[in-house]
Amino acid sequence: MAKHFIVLIAVAVMTATASAQGPSSAARPSGDTARGKQLFEKTYRCYACHGFDGQTGSPRLVPMPMTEQAFVAFLRKPPREAMPKFVDVPEQDLVDVYAYVKSIPVAAPPADSIPILKDVLQRRSQTTQRAR
């Protein structure tokens, strides 16, 4: 439960940081996307929490709401202990990871277009109605 709470806080902080940055969040990443993918998967193993594609873990990274600057700052000094600190990591590494994360396309079809999820929603709704 505590872990989930921390994760929610982390998401809130990331989102808030992104909002504070305003339009600059659309700025083109300066990093090396391919190198960033290597770092994400093989070196820093960001997938351990966030999923191999940044969207199946918790918190979800895609679509990345932060600017490059906010992203680096966040990794240097995360607001909660659930997120590892990347204090001694070369800045270029973090910039490259950001470029990779930013490049990941959102792969999330609408729930009602996925038969399994649509069926779950329908069955839960029917079950709930029976219970009421």
Partner: protein, 638 residues
């Protein structure tokens, strides 16, 4: 105290086997009665001098001319009597890894009772045998017998015994031990006090030095194991006692087992809880290990619906307790601030109680945890500053609580409750929808997303009477949102002690119990867990245990990857080495091949999510026909 007479008694039995084999006729030198080192077997003359009987007769076996054995009819093995005692306890199965220290019992089970009730289950590790008993007990509502060898077998099995203790699950363990060991093998398998090895995490242990004591202790142990708070019990049964021969006249009486009644809460205290719940604006029920039975399940639903309040069964360490798709399931949403919280069988509510007290809210604990007496293992949690404790079994107390609540509910109260229930149901619906929205991300990803894995599985079994027999494996939230846990047996709970290695063997035990009731057992096991007990796959195949193993293969101990990353980061020493000592790759393990090697149908590794449906379908076809199967899924870490 071991006397010379006891020594010769045991040694004579061992020596008889040599004589029966026809290879050891006593020589004149041996026949002479002279003091010798005790490690040597006794001669015919020794036995005659000690017992006044020929050696073979002393051990209950008569020699024939051709050197073959004939069992005497005047006496019977003491272990036959022990089996008659154990049959009173209605064990369906006995999980074992064989050991010479309980060979008397072993032989009686397979010959005297024909390997029926209990049927022996061959396990390839003592931890697997006891974990199998653990899973079975929760699904069947009664213990499975487990038997292990002295010292070494007990040490191997001790981890599983600990997990059952921490999970408050009844187990009945017999440990065979050579009380008077004579050889280099048996000496280290003997101990002055074998129980001390595990006494901190069993409810009761006894060394049964006589048959009368065995019979009484067996009944007492069963009673203690099954009385809440439940837990494992252990009898140490000396090899020599098992292998004694007793005459019909010497045969003790088999005692009757008393009917058991669990501890129920004090009626006045229960009435007070009812008053607090009915008068509360925002009550919350938090059951943990409560609904052992359908009656307990029905009672939890009745109480929740009566009060129209949220019922939050928690995550790890809880049983099913309440239907996951019920509109009252959950904590009522982030805006719901409980003014009265009733926790049931929660073993650490210290934080909950402290926070509530600071905000002027009330907390109540109804739990047989308050009746626990052990102190070494800290599984009882920190001290909780609750407002009221009822030291009783929560499930058994629920009917009284429900009746007391009914007495207090007026028409006005009922209207207010209905309004509250509507708000809680809306929060539940919204939370479910939000979660489903998150599951669509990475739906087609490879490695396969956990929601996709669970969703494809759910789709395949939605029309079956299924039971999830593994622990939560870090995916419990996904399971609960995507699968309709609408019966008390849908989820068998977790390992209890946060130890890896429970899921693979415990799932087999639970599957045995469920399959007898026509249910479809499913286990989602981590690759880390499976590697603790891969031999369990052979046991499942050998005994034709219908069970689908889905391997959540993330090729690591992922919790540890994250923890090491955090530690490196906190120390400012780089975060790029967290895979060292935490990942299970290079080479990758092929669990499908592993399962096939153990004789099990298997598919995988499945990397493309589009292949999941077919793999699950084919594997489930085998399971529905009564066989185990395994599907190895290359999945996202969480």
């Amino acid at each position: 105290m071991v006397g010379r007479r006891d020594f010769f008694k045991g040694a004579a039995a061992g020596a008889a086997g040599l004589v029966v084999g026809g290879s050891a006729a006593p020589t004149e030198t041996e026949a002479a009665v002279v003091p010798r080192p005790s490690v040597l077997p006794p001669t015919e003359a020794d036995v005659q001098a000690e017992f006044g009987l020929p050696r073979a007769e002393a051990s209950g076996v008569a020699l024939q001319q051709e050197g073959t054995a004939q069992v005497t009819t005047e006496s019977e093995p003491a272990s036959d009597f022990m089996v008659d005692v154990l049959k009173k306890l209605d064990f369906e199965y006995a999980a074992i890894n064989p050991g010479s220290a309980f060979v008397g019992l072993h032989e009686s089970f397979i010959t005297y009772t024909g390997n029926k009730n209990p049927e022996l289950l061959t396990c390839l590790h003592e931890e697997a045998a006891i974990a199998m008993s653990h899973g079975y007990a929760k699904a069947a509502g009664k213990p499975m017998l487990a038997m292990v060898h002295g010292v070494v077998g007990l040490l191997h099995g001790s981890m599983a015994l600990f997990q059952a203790w921490a999970d408050r699950v009844p187990l009945f363990l017999i440990v065979g031990m050579h009380r008077n060991p004579t050889g280099i093998v048996n000496l280290p398998h003997s101990a002055q006090d074998l129980g001390i090895i595990v006494r901190d995490f069993v409810k009761f242990d006894d060394e049964t030095t006589t048959l009368e004591r065995f019979a009484e202790s067996a009944m007492r142990a069963y009673e203690i194991a099954m009385t809440p708070p439940r837990g494992p019990v252990m009898l140490v049964v000396p090899t020599e006692l098992q292998e004694e021969r007793i005459s019909r006249r010497e045969r003790p009486r088999v005692p009757e087992l008393a009917r058991l009644s669990p501890p129920v809460g004090d009626p006045n205290a229960v009435r007070e809880v009812a008053r607090m719940l009915v008068n509360a604006e925002t009550p919350l029920l938090m059951p943990r290990k409560v609904a052992r039975t359908q009656q307990g399940w029905d009672a939890m639903i009745e109480l929740g619906e009566l009060l129209q309040c949220p019922v939050d069964p928690g995550g790890y360490g809880s049983w099913q307790n309440f239907p996951t798709w019920h509109p009252l399931w959950g904590n009522g949403g982030s805006a719901y601030r409980p003014d009265v919280t009733v926790a049931m069988e929660m073993n650490d509510m210290s934080q909950l109680a402290r926070n509530a007290r600071a905000q002027g809210r009330k907390t109540i604990s109804i739990s047989c945890e308050h009746l626990f007496g052990h102190s070494n293992i800290h599984d009882y949690g920190r001290y909780a500053e609750v407002d009221l404790i009822i030291a009783a079994d929560a499930e058994a107390t629920l009917p009284t609580l429900i009746e007391e609540v009914k007495k207090l509910v007026t028409a006005d109260k009922r209207r207010a409750f209905e309004e509250r229930g509507t708000r809680v149901a809306a929060a539940h619906r919204d939370a479910h929808a939000r979660f489903i929205d998150t599951t669509r991300y990475g739906w087609d990803a490879s490695p396969i997303s956990v929601p996709r894995m669970i969703g494809e599985l759910s789709e395949q079994i939605k029309n079956d009477d299924w039971a999830l027999v593994s622990g939560s494996q870090f995916t419990i939230e996904t399971q609960r949102r995507l699968m309709n846990f609408d019966r008390h047996y849908r989820y068998n709970g977790d390992n209890g002690g946060f130890g890896v290695g429970y899921d693979t063997p415990a799932s087999m035990g639970a599957a045995l119990a469920h399959s007898k009731r026509g249910r479809l057992p499913i286990a989602i096991v981590g690759d880390g867990d499976l590697n603790f007990s891969p031999g369990s796959l052979w046991t499942a195949a050998h005994h034709h245990i219908p069970l689908l193993y889905v391997v959540h293969n993330n090729r690591a101990y992922h919790a540890e990857v994250m923890i090491v990353q955090r530690m490196s980061g906190n120390r400012g020493r780089g975060s790029g080495h967290a895979h060292v000592g935490t990942t299970i790759s290079d080479p990758n393990i092929n669990y499908s091949q592993m399962a096939k090697g153990y004789g099990m149908y298997a598919e995988g590794p499945i990397e493309n999510p589009k292949d999941l449906a077919g793999a699950f379908s084919r594997a489930l076809e085998r399971v529905r026909k009564g066989e185990p199967a395994l599907v190895d899924v290359i999945a996202q870490p969480r």
